[in-house]
Amino acid sequence: MNKEGIITEGPNVAHGHDSAEGHHGHEHHEQHFIWKYIFSQDHKMISKQFLITGIIWAIIGALFSVFFRFQLGFPDTSFPIMETFLGEWAKGGKLSPEFYYALVTMHGTILVFFVLTAGLSGTFANLLIPYQVGARDMASPFMNMLSYWFFFAASVLMMISLFVETGPASGGWTTYPPLSALKEASLGSGVGMDLWLMGMSLFVISSLLGGLNYISTVLNMRTKGMTMTRLPLTVWALFFTAVLGVLSFPVLFSGVVLLIFDRNFGTSFYLSEIFIGGKALPHIGGSAILYQHLFWFLGHPEVYIIMLPGMGMASEVLSTHSRKPIFGYFAMVISMVGITLLAFLVWAHHMFVTGLSPFLGSIFVLLTLLIAVPSAVKVFNWITTIWRGNLKLNPAMLFALGFVSMFISGGLTGIFLGNSALDIHLHDTYFVIAHFHIVMGVSAFFGMFAGVYHWFPKMYGRFMNRTLGYIHFFITFVGAYLIFWPMHYEGIAGMPRRYYDYSAWESFKHFQSINGFISIVALVVFLTQILFVFNFIFSIFRGRKLTTKNPWGSTTLEWTTPIRPGHGNWEGDIPEVHRWPYDYKDDGNGNDFIPQTTPLRPGEEAH
């Protein structure tokens, strides 16, 4: 195969010598099953490990939400199936309040950390960074493998915590002390909480090992000609994600370690003047608010750790399937720089009602609303990208479009919550739930789905079923709005979040029927996600096979590798890059795109 062969390749041009079987013979040696599939150091395999572990966690986390939604939506009905799953925690088919809170807590922890952090950046940073910068693997494949196995160990601890006698952590995914620090305060603050803290510590280590690797790969391993300004936006986004993680996760780690100390070694970092369980505790001088500062110093960048990969992938997918360059490449990069910087300076907007100094609060209002500007720039750029394009509305594209729609909806409600004078009423109501589920839950998932549908052919050499993809998209898109749109109203009406039952409240009990409605939609959307998982698994083995290397007619480097690349990605030399990644224009040979590996034509201007 020669370079010219890549250049003139069109989306529908078949190349016999690219067939999957053609390449295995070139492997230098047959690897043992264990080194190839389990303790693999190949970025592609590690990415699949992250993705599949993430999918398993996502099913568990989503199933939890179905359970507690049904408890919330139908408090007077019993669901024997819950007892089947949860045993004594749901005696008679009704959740106990303790376990309701445990499920809420684990739902948040699993989805935020194990799915949308590890599952999302773990998958796509591993898959795309080496591919798209033109490297044979990560800077340190061994560290990369460790990153996955620390994540796996964290997963094991978190999983064990679901089965301990006093139940898993139940103080909310933010686990504020003193509730999380004192065994007397709640059942879930027993062994479950210790396991949660240890699991999170391992998770932080995994995240740091991964993040450092991503950063050094992007900075050092770019192929010849791949200047920073020729990086695809996915790589930029994953790079900033890693920067955010590396700088903020250690702060969470310190917060977690101090909490372990307070719980087990009698320190008073977070505890002061507490009377609980019939006695006064000896702790004096700690500050419960300190934990919140440490937590949200990670917690807010975490939101962007979740959002940025989706932004990057949506940019890539929108551009490819619009057959049009991304609009405002530099504006996109600069806005990501802005988001990354501001992400570190807005954490206290989660704490407006903790008694924070009003002056400090006002600074955080200003910085928080400032972040709306780069976000708005990105939205307008995405919309302009599809303007006068030639839109191929396949499932990946639909999810990218859905991502933009959800990002707009969720972003706009952030303007309410970032303004402290409005937050003082909306804080900790369903408005907050609606806001962050749309913007960092649904929207981030849509970015992830866009990525999965788009890069599935690269991962497995087959396509996912398109019809199922369409069903998946439309039900999820409509369902997500049906679930979360009414929650805004409940929140505006002051309905507090994390309540097990509202029937005793004169102000909130009339929302019972809408809560039931939301729960039913949640079940439907959950089943649709199972359908996606079905599609995913079936397609790995039975999906339509790729016949060309570059099925989408994409410009970036990953599509110049063989259909089923071995460890090392490219046979022969790694490719050289000559142009920016979004040259969707006539190449003079009847194709509507020019891959990055094509040299500039005489007289052609670089971007």
Partner: protein, 350 residues
């Protein structure tokens, strides 16, 4: 058994859907992939527009459903400011929402793939970027200005004449303390707490405590038109005094004293008429997850006229009198060891 049947039914449905999906793909190959692709693309573009229109109808339907379920008019001045600001923000964001979503879905339809057209190579425009950086920045500046005015208003010092009431959270109810005739809350110390005789740990060596009244039923009485300053504390974990009808809330943090003040403007009785609900009551909702009873941590506020308030106050006995019917005050133990916690004088708003 029924669970098993349901599970197998669901799996069956999945398999059927999958087979349909698979079959449609084979059919597409038979009928000519390109032609089918074009048809599917058109159908999806049409569906997207349908979803958008359905969504717009849905927003209207949702709005009408909730219209009569929302909170009544705000019961204090800062709450009215809140409502106004909320409406302004809703209008600004609402316009942006409708415009961007409409354009997004319209473009999906208008620029769906077609052989007749090629996409327009349009990679950047500094002018456009400048426009849509500046406009959001200005809009944000206006909203920030609005917000900060209200924020500093809400968090300002309470007026001198404000009634001081202490509200302390514990798992899982609210304890409310009135300063009594001397108008001053006495000192309290968490080490003196005793659930039977001293729920707030009042320091009996402080004479200000002798006339303090404690309500353990979570019912707070305030006078309409008179500012009230809440001194907020917690005995165990973090709670939050949520006052939806006043559009306010503030955390109750152990070891830290927070405050919140407002001037109730509508009595409970008038609110019953406004809402047309004889059961109406101002509720205090705990808004910070505090354990298994969090959802039941309910308090109430009775907003009444000065006369009603005075009559009610007269019927109350001081906590000291309730617990020491005939005995003299017990000498406080370990007085020196305990650094006093002066709720009132402790720095408010941390």
């Amino acid at each position: 058994m029924s669970g098993f049947i349901i599970t197998s039914l669901i799996i069956l449905v999945f398999v059927i859907i999958y087979q349909i999906g698979k079959a449609s793909e084979y059919a597409a190959v038979l009928r000519g992939k390109e032609k089918v692709d074009a048809q599917v693309n058109r159908a999806i573009a049409f569906l997207l527009v349908a979803v958008f229109l359905l969504g717009m109808w849905g927003i209207w339907a949702c709005h009408s459903y909730f219209k009569d379920m929302m909170l009544p008019v705000a019961a204090c001045k800062s709450g009215e400011n809140y409502d106004f600001m909320f409406n302004v923000t809703t209008i600004v964001t609402g316009i942006v929402f409708f415009l961007t979503q409409a354009v997004l879905f319209w473009f999906c339809y208008k620029y769906q793939a077609s052989d007749k057209r090629t996409s327009f190579f349009f990679a950047h425009s500094n002018k456009l970027e400048l426009i849509w950086t500046t406009i959001p920045a200005i809009a944000m500046a206006i909203l920030v200005a609005f917000g900060l005015r209200n924020w500093f208003d809400i968090t300002s010092e309470a007026p001198k004449e404000a009634t001081v009431i202490e509200i302390v959270g514990k798992q899982f109810n609210w304890l409310i303390r009135y300063p009594g005739a001397d108008n001053e809350l006495g000192k309290r110390d968490f080490r003196k707490i005793n659930d039977a005789t001293n729920v707030l740990g009042l320091d009996w060596s402080d004479p200000h405590n002798e006339d303090d009244i404690i309500a353990q039923n979570g019912e707070m009485h305030v006078v309409v038109g008179k500012p009230v300053k809440l001194v907020i504390g917690s005995r165990d974990v973090i709670h939050d005094v949520g006052l939806p009808h006043f559009r306010l809330k503030m955390d109750a943090v152990p070891g830290i004293t927070t405050t919140l003040w407002f001037t109730p403007s509508i009595t409970s009785d008038s609110m019953k008429q406004i809402t047309n609900n004889p059961d109406f009551v101002y509720e205090i909702a705990c808004d910070q997850l505090c354990g298994k009873g969090h959802y039941a941590m309910r308090g109430t506020i009775i907003v009444e006229t000065q006369a009603q308030y005075d009559a009610w106050m007269k019927s109350q006995k001081s906590y000291y009198a309730l617990n020491n019917a005939d005995a003299a005050p017990a000498p406080a133990e370990e007085m020196d060891a305990a650094p006093a916690t002066d709720s009132v004088k402790a720095i408010s708003m941390k």
